[in-house]
Symmetry: C2
Subunit: 215 residues, 2 copies
Amino acid sequence: MTALDSVALRTAAANGEQDRRAEIYRNAARIFHRKGYHATSINDIAAAVGLTKAGLYYYIKGKQDLLFAIMSFAMDQLDEQVIEPARKVRDPRTRLETIVTCHARLITQDSSALTILVNELEGLLPGDRADIIDRQRDYVDFIADTLAALRDEGKVVGLDPTVGAFSLVGMILWISRWYRADGRLEAEEVVAEVTRMAVAAVLNRSTDQTKDPDR
Amino acid sequence: MTALDSVALRTAAANGEQDRRAEIYRNAARIFHRKGYHATSINDIAAAVGLTKAGLYYYIKGKQDLLFAIMSFAMDQLDEQVIEPARKVRDPRTRLETIVTCHARLITQDSSALTILVNELEGLLPGDRADIIDRQRDYVDFIADTLAALRDEGKVVGLDPTVGAFSLVGMILWISRWYRADGRLEAEEVVAEVTRMAVAAVLNRSTDQTKDPDR
């Protein structure tokens, strides 16, 4: 998938082929996640999406191309469902809550496609890998900038914004490892819990720690 | 590696062979992490540890056996350097700090062997996989029990201990993804920052949130 394809996927009116592509990406991501990228064959993917191998090649050029398409699709989702809504929020504290809530919600809804994003970067061609790494870095920077804005307001004290951003990303992405849709907690409870923890981790640190006689 | 080997590795006096095994596990973990488990051959590993393939087979039965040995080695390290010291701490808040600090420190010192632990479970034989998953679950339960003890003391309010434990584990393990020994921050600064965030995430939540007029 080229950058142009990716833009087309985002902007064009939803039609059958786009839905079909999204379905292929989701299913393939699920198999890659379960079997591992290297152990998964094109035949496995074709079988999972109900296509012949030849039919699948209409949508993708090969396994490596498919991996990049899935990662780009996941980053597109992050753009649309997390970064774009959060950019519109001026207040840094509310922006932070928006980032964590929207990202946690995206993962509870659609974890496989995002999980693979993290584990299989080595499977990509160097140019594609750089593209994904750039987009991931932009996201971490966006969170770090939000933490820096909170620091400038005096609401975050003594936290390195980059360490803060990476730690929150780790907490959020990890949801894909433990959350089960059929588990004890509703998705929205998990989203709310993680959002409260993330906000407390950065906002309530030093205040409470100076007040605490134990420290 | 059998459970008996693992016990032997922990308890016997350090000798040349054990150091050699540990070195093989660390190097192999590094290659698995860089190239991916499936893409790594026994020849790659032999070359990296300066052994012939036959020489390597003195230490390991095969690639799958090596993967399990690495994961067991990583769990042994977690036992020795995190769980055992933390179990001796009676006060739940100090115990939580001990867990996060010791685990974050272990990762900044030795990230590859632990990182692989998380990604390659599918590569193991079912019995070995169950063994590692049990040990991982015991660790999450240990953290959740500590959070439950803090809740019983009234210090943690309205947090599900399991969600809290998984979120902290995600924050800590993620260090292996972004920390660089030659980076801007010293390892101990990173350890201290992550510990403060983790403690704040669970301890300072509701107090501050009830006080905050925005909520």
